[in-house]
Amino acid sequence: MEKREVIYRHSGAVRITHWVNALVLLFLLMSGLQIFNAHPALYLGSKSTFDDPIMAMGAVRVGDSDKGVTSILGHNFDTTGVLGLGTDADGSPDERGFPWSLTIPGHRDLSMGRRWHFFFAWLFVFNGLAYLAWSLLSGHLRRDLAPSGRDIKHIGASILEHARLKFPRGEEAKRYNVLQKLTYLIVALVLLPLMLITGLAMSPGMDAAFPLLLEILGGRQTARTIHFITASGIVVFVVVHIVMVVLSGVWNNLRSMITGRYVIEPAEES
């Protein structure tokens, strides 16, 4: 029978950039929702078609009372109290997109929201570049994240294992499984860079410097919509990530991302 074993799982560079990224993304998300609340509607193309947004939040008068309505692709949903309409600190009705409890600052203040957002956007860029440079140079990307041919063949089985919440032990637990590899690759190389590119495409200065940005993304309002959807995707990833961390051994996982050390439980005897 194999023995319980402690391995060094995450390098210092991964641990530091992971936690900086987590903090920075939280600030970016919350200040981003503040900015979104200044005009809680999304469009496609270069310009805003105000009477035909693909998504919008707002309040509508129904009889004697106001209702919060979120419309998505022409379908209206009553989201009173959550999206579109909430209450102020003093209890009076307040038309907005997301609740102020989710934004930075915690009340309507677009200019401060922008300042928080762009400050953390720079940290995001520096941290992300440091991570990518280190991952390429150290071989982290190739060694730990790139799926092998064997991994790819194992996708079906890996999905089944995840669905049954059965986590690998022993030798198998020393590496990321194929779903982890693919997910981390998509987040690090697709979703996070896409946040930056779509963010920059909303800048009139950057659009003049790099007209190709808008050609690729299909116009400034499409870029803004992709920015929102991608951010939502990252939120979904973080939720699933945290659930998986909790289910597969919260202290072991947390410790490995803080000190680097990860306990490998022996494989079950067959």
Binding site: L26, M30, I35, F36, A38, H39, A41, Y43, S46, K47, S48, T49, F50, D51, S101, I104, P105, G106, H107, D109, L110, S111, M112, R114, R115, W116, F118, F119, A121, W122, M202, S203, P204, G205, M206, D207, A208, A209, F210, P211, L214, R220, Q221, R224, V246, L247, G249, V250, W251, N252, V263, E265
Partner: protein, 260 residues
């Protein structure tokens, strides 16, 4: 599973996260009021401005669109109906007595009527107007290039900013110092697409959009594009003007460099 009491631990973590986020939220609001936090956050504005200036050649044009791209409804934001008595008087007689004053650090101060401005060389452009709130509209603008006006007025060597004084008072305070104003640096002032527009979508500029004259600075956000421009002043320093931040919205906390 390594957790023996997962629910307790999960409960602990959930409560911990809730407490942490409450601290973060409350903390950010308190922090937002601290001068040193503002200074740290402002460092990003400088970084953005310097980076964009480095990436953006002075002559690079904002994208121009076609007639087919024009917005059906071009949203009018900020002041749309100024109530200042002097403005109302001009509006009443169709801006026939109205004159644009160009002064400050210039060799040749000017006072130009709308007809005189229209007689000058003009530029027409179909551009996208990006509001700081997040929306965009596409409009067609015709006006006199600011560079042509500044050339006529002969800018002095020590001029570094062009300040635009406007007729509107968004919060209706009735005070002269609360009227709209804006400023741009010389790079944007002499940019080919920086014009003082008197026509929009082939019509005389409407009051809601800044009649008789509004600024277009196509590589920055909408709030830089002052409406109801009455007077232009070339200066060497903006810190001594009104709130000291270079514009109406800037004095209220928005960035002076609005390229992002």
């Amino acid at each position: 599973m390594s957790g023996q009491r997962p629910l307790d631990r999960r409960g602990f973590i959930t409560r911990g996260l809730a407490a942490a986020s409450a601290t973060l939220l409350g903390g950010c609001d308190d922090l937002s009021d601290q001068p040193w936090v503002k200074r740290v956050l402002d460092s990003a504005e400088t970084l953005t401005r310097v980076t964009q200036r480095a990436l953006l050649s002075p002559q690079a044009l904002a994208r121009e669109y076609s007639e087919a791209d024009l917005s059906k409804e071009f949203k009018a934001n900020g002041s749309t109906d100024p109530q200042e008595p002097d403005y109302l008087a001009h509006m009443k007689n169709g801006f026939t007595d109205w004159k644009l004053a160009v002064g400050g650090l210039v060799e040749q101060p000017l006072s130009l009527s709308l007809d005189e401005l229209r007689a000058m060389p003009s530029r027409t452009q179909i551009t996208r107007h990006d509001c700081v709130e997040g929306w965009s509209c596409i409009g067609k603008w015709k006006g006199v290039p600011l560079a042509a006006l500044l050339e006529k007025a002969k800018l002095k060597g020590n001029a570094r900013y062009i300040v635009f004084y406007c007729a509107d008072n968004l919060f209706d305070t009735g005070e002269e110092k609360d009227r709209y104003y804006e400023s741009v640096g010389l790079v944007d002032a002499v940019h080919p697409q920086t014009i003082l527009a008197y026509e929009m979508n082939d019509q005389t500029l409407a009051v809601a959009h800044g009649a008789p004259l509004r600024l277009r600075v196509e590589r920055q956000l909408g709030y830089k594009m002052a409406k109801y421009v009455m007077r232009i002043e070339a200066v060497d320093e903006i810190a001594t003007i009104r709130g000291g931040q270079g514009g109406f919205w800037e004095d209220l906390g928005y960035e002076w460099y609005a390229g992002i």
